[in-house]
Symmetry: C2
Subunit: 250 residues, 2 copies
């Protein structure tokens, strides 16, 4: 059998607003404009529409920056209201230099600006990451199951930078219904080498696979991964967080 | 139009040996066991088979470790012959701690063990990265063009770790016939935000997309990406190297 899978963009979704039934909108747009969801599909949904549906969008005019945010914003030459939002989303500043603010979010993700992002929201607004992206993913998975009778594993993606390499890639920040890491623990390759150190971050790879279809201007906030057998199970995105004690770059 | 693409594993390739005509083997295996290559396809080929075809496999019994390698191997509790190979492949040690050796290769990639890898090679051997992966990619692209009349963009992938996140992902270490980074320079989102800082590492995302089909035990060293419009052009993988002066984590 030829191993293969398809990456299918769900077009035709409306602009998402707080309180929208995102599960229904995705199920209907898939059926109407792309292809109905079916058994074996996996969904990748961008964080931005989750945050919008959950009301995690802040008007900058409503932000009164703290003295700490004001001082840091001056050093970074950034908008103090944005810096204030970033600090509220963070438990630790990892690096602050060259206009960049790399932080560890309350979830544990290390990323620029704590996931606070102004693209694809209204001009005077910023979107925050969902409070608990695994819970968001689980909620969406349950809604899709209710509406379609199909249990579809779900990945919430965001676009992060990384050290050493230019360019951003999509990664997984929330999951439901799959194990995000494929382990080769105990496996041996054809030559007999133990692959005990080999753990593949499949959820990140699939979040990345979805990105070229999503684009940044295409209005494709959800993508179907069809035909790939993933490791089903009640996984958590926390498995993608490296323990700081095992991380040489904090 | 629905944006979509397919990821198709090329099965049926034989074990690759030095001097093999890898282009012919891939073209023939695709046509015989998967699907013939056609216009618009992109190929992702794992570094391991490139290195094997190019004779970049070393017998550990032939390695006489340097005094520096012996000392480092003792500190790391690693095989001194492997450490010697890693140092030969490196221009700089980035971190050496907890048994890990993170280096910058002569190409500029920052990765564990300088890409020196014992999986899927004979038991007493180690594979090195290709000397010039872009040249390897270009050679393979030209061979495929000769044999099929189709100009297929090509990505050479390897499996790297990264800071902060658990699990390895496939990334691009060599390319031919595409721009590895999609730039949104000058673009604006629907709300009017400038996306000037947005550069997507599409080559890395597609290398990652190929990995779940390749696996580590499936003997699928080459994958077709079909139906995705990539930014064609004479790009170089060097565009994926972050300038150290702009990198906060070296």
């Amino acid at each position: 059998m030829i191993p293969r899978y398809e990456v299918i963009g769900i077009v035709g979704l409306p602009e998402i607003r707080q309180g929208d039934d995102l599960g229904r909108l995705i199920v209907e747009a898939a059926a109407t404009h792309a292809t109905p969801l079916r058994e074996g599909d996996l969904l990748v949904v961008t964080q931005k529409v989750i945050s919008k549906a959950e009301g995690r969008v802040v008007r900058l005019a409503d932000v009164i920056p703290s003295p700490a945010a004001l001082a840091m914003a001056q050093a970074l030459r950034r908008d103090p209201r944005l810096v204030d939002l970033i600090l509220r989303e963070s438990r630790r500043v990892v690096r602050m230099d060259k206009g960049l603010l790399i932080v560890e979010t309350h979830h544990g993700w290390v990323c620029a600006n704590g996931g606070v992002d102004q693209s694809n929201v209204d001009l005077d607004c910023a979107a925050l990451l969902p409070e608990d992206p695994d819970r968001s993913a689980q909620g969406l998975r349950e809604r899709v199951l209710q509406l379609t009778g199909t249990d579809v594993p779900l990945i919430i993606s965001d676009t992060f930078g990384r050290p050493w390499r230019e360019g951003l890639t999509n990664v997984a920040i929330g999951i439901a219904g799959l194990q995000p890491i494929q382990s080769y623990l105990g496996a041996r390759d054809p030559a007999g080498h133990s692959l005990q150190a080999t753990f593949l971050a499949v959820a990140d790879e699939l979040a990345g696979a979805a990105e070229p279809v999503m684009g940044k201007l295409n209005r494709v906030p959800a993508v179907i991964i069809r035909g790939l057998a993933v490791d089903r199970g009640e996984g958590t995105s926390k498995a993608l967080l490296r323990d700081p004690s095992r991380d040489l770059f904090r």
